[in-house]
Point group: none
Chain length 205, copies 4
C-alpha cells in the first residue's frame, strides 16, 4: 500500500494521538486539526476511523518484525541472543507510539487482534526466538525445555510494563526526563532482560 504525503502526515498525527489518548479518546477532528487537513479528508482518504487504524497498523507492523538476518550470523549464540534482545527493545522503544496503541487496542475489543498481519508478526518473532534457542540447544549452551512463548512474553511484557508505568517508575528511579528514562530502558533494562533470559536458558535451578 502506498501513501501520499498528506496521508502519511495524517497517519503520523493519528499515531501520536492514539498513543496518548487511546483510540476512543481521539476524535477525527483532533486528528484533522493537528494534521491541518479537513475533517472530511480522513474519511476521504481512509474510508473510516476504524480503517485508519488498520492502515496505521499495516503501515507500521512491518517494522516490528525481528530482523531474521541475525540468524545468519556466525557469532556465538549467546551474542546473537544478546543482540536480538538489545535490538528489539531499542526498536520498540524508538517506535513506542504505535506499540502502545497495539498493546492497548489489541487487548481491548476485537480490534487488531483479528488482523492477519498481527498474527503473522507475532508468529515471525516467535520463530526467530525459537531458532536462536534451538541453535543454543544444539551447541549445548542452552537447556532444553524452555518455551519461546514464555521467553517472548517475558521480554515483551517487561518492556511494556516499563512503558505503562512510566510516571510511577520515573519517580521510583529518580529519573526526571523522558530522555533519561529512554536511555535507562536501552541500557539497564536491556541488560536486565539479557541476564534474565540467559539465566533462564542456562541455569537449571
Amino acid at each position: 500500500m502506498e501513501f501520499s504525503e498528506k496521508q502519511l502526515e495524517i497517519l503520523h498525527v493519528a499515531e501520536n494521538l492514539f498513543s496518548k489518548n487511546g483510540f476512543d479518546g481521539t476524535s477525527v477532528r483532533d486528528i484533522a486539526q493537528e494534521a491541518q487537513v479537513n475533517v472530511a479528508m480522513i474519511n476521504y482518504y481512509f474510508g473510516s476511523k476504524d480503517k485508519l487504524l488498520d492502515d496505521l497498523f499495516t503501515y507500521r507492523v512491518e517494522k516490528f518484525k525481528m530482523d531474521e538476518s541475525i540468524l545468519n550470523l556466525t557469532s556465538p549464540v549467546m551474542e546473537i541472543l544478546d543482540e536480538m534482545i538489545s535490538s528489539y527493545i531499542k526498536y520498540m522503544n524508538s517506535s513506542l507510539a504505535i506499540y502502545q496503541i497495539i498493546a492497548i487496542e489489541a487487548g481491548v475489543k476485537r480490534r487488531l487482534m483479528l488482523s492477519d498481519s498481527y498474527k503473522n508478526l507475532k508468529e515471525h518473532n516467535l520463530q526467530v526466538i525459537s531458532s536462536i534457542i534451538h541453535r543454543g540447544i544444539e551447541t549445548g549452551e542452552f537447556l532444553s525445555g524452555n518455551d519461546p512463548i514464555l521467553i517472548h512474553a517475558t521480554m515483551m511484557g517487561t518492556f511494556m510494563n516499563f512503558q505503562m508505568n512510566k510516571t510511577f517508575l520515573k519517580s521510583q528511579l529518580n529519573i526526571t526526563t523522558d530522555e533519561a528514562y529512554s536511555k535507562y530502558m536501552e541500557s539497564t533494562l536491556v541488560i536486565h532482560l539479557q541476564r534474565t533470559i540467559k539465566a533462564l536458558l542456562t541455569y537449571a535451578y
Copy 2:
C-alpha cells in the same frame, strides 16, 4: 467507603465492560442497560462516569496489595519467594478485569496514575518484594545487585502480556477455553516466573 448492593452491581458491570471495551469505549448507557438500572442512576450514585472509575479503583485496589504476612513465615526464603509469585499471579488472575483496566487507563492519559492509592499500592508491593530479596541476600541464598523494580516489572509484565495477547496465545498454545487458559497461567506461567526470578537471583551468568 460503603457501597449498597445496587452500587456494587453497577461497579461489577462497569468493571466488566471497561475491561472489555475500555473506559472511553463504554458508555454509561451500556452500563445502565447491563446493570438493569436507570441511566440517571449512575450519576446519582457516583456523581459522574469519571468518579465511577475512581470508586471502582478504590473498591478494588486494596485487593491488589501483596499479602505482607508471608514475610513473617519462617519458611526458607526460596519458598517464600515461590509463594509470593504464585499467590500474586493467582490473585491477579482472579481479579483480572480491574487489572486490565488499570493497565490500560494508567497508560493512557492522566487517569488513575495520579491517584495516591495507586502509588501506595505499587510502593507496597515493591516493598514486599524488596524485603524478600534482602532476606535472601542475608541468608546468602540470593545474589545482591538485583533491583526489585526490575523483578517486579518482569513478573507483572509477563503476566499482563499473557492477558493482552490472550486471543493470539490461546491459538498458539492450542488452548480452546478461557478456563484452560486461566489454568495454564496459574500453573505453567507461575512456574516459569518462579524459575525465571530464582535463576536471576541465584545465578550469576
Copy 3:
C-alpha cells in the same frame, strides 16, 4: 397563608437565589442545599417549583403596597409626594431580591403577571399616586393632565434601571461597595426622582 419556620427559610433562600440566578437558573437542589433541607421537601411543602415562586410572591407582595396612611396626613401635598417617593424607593431598596425577581419573571413568560395579587398591588399603588396628584391639583399646586401611570413608570423604572445596571453604574459613579451604592440610591436617586416628578407636576414647559 401561614408558613412554618422551615418553609420560611426555604422561601428566603429561594428569594435570594432567584434574584441572583433567575428562576430557571436556580434548581430545587440549589435551594434545598442552601436551606439545608431534603430536596423532596420543596415539593412536599410547596407542591412544585412553580408554586414555590407563587408562594414567595404572595408572601412578599403585601410589603410592596404603598402605605396609604400618608394620604391622611395634613402636611402640604408637596411633602406628601416627597415622602411617598422616598419611602417607596427605600422600601424597594430594602426588599430588593424579590423585586428583582418580580421585574424579571413578570417580563418573561406567563409567570406572575397572571396573578391577581400582582394586579391588585399595582392598582393599589397607582391609586395612592393618583390620590396625591389629585389632591395637588385641588390645591392648585399641581398641573392637571399628568397620567399617574406615567409617573409611576418613571419612578419605578428609574429605580429598576439602577438595579439592573448596578455593575456598570457602580464603575461610572466611582462607587466601590454595595453599601455605598445603596446609600446613593436612597439619597441622590431619591432626590432626583423627587425633583423630576415635582418638576413634571408643577412646571409646564
Copy 4:
C-alpha cells in the same frame, strides 16, 4: 463578524425566544425547531449556547448606539434633545426583543455585563446625552447640576418599565393590541419623557 443567511435566521429565532422565555428558559432544541435546522447546527455554527448569546449581542449591540450625528445639527438644543429622546425610544421599541434580553440577562448573573461592547455602548450613549446637556448649559437654556447618568436612567428605565409590565399596562390603558401599545409608547410615552427631561433641565423647583 459576518453571518450566513442560516446563521441570521437562527439568531433571529433565538432573539425572539430568549426575549419571550429568557435564556435559561429557552433550549437549543426550541431554537433549532423554530429555525427549522438540526439541533447540532446551533453548536456547529456558534460553538455553544452561551456563544450564541454573545454573537447575538454583538450582532445587535451596534444598533443601540445613539446616533451621534444629531450633535452636528444646528437646530436649537431643545429640538435636539427632543429628537434624541424620540429616536432612541423609537429605536429601542423597534428592536425590543434584544433589549429585553439585555435588560434581563445583564441583571442576572455574570452574563453580558462583562462584555466590553456592552460597556462601550453604555458609555457612548451617556456621552451623547452629556454633550446635549452641556450644549444646553452653554446656551443658557439648561440648568447645570443634572447628572447625565440620572437622565439616562430615567429615560431608559421608564421605557423598560413599560416593556416589562406590558400585560398589566395594556389593561390599565384599555389598549387591546400590541400595535396600539407600541404606538402609545412612540407617541404618549415619548412626549412624557420629553416633557419630563426638559422640565428637569429647565426648571429649578
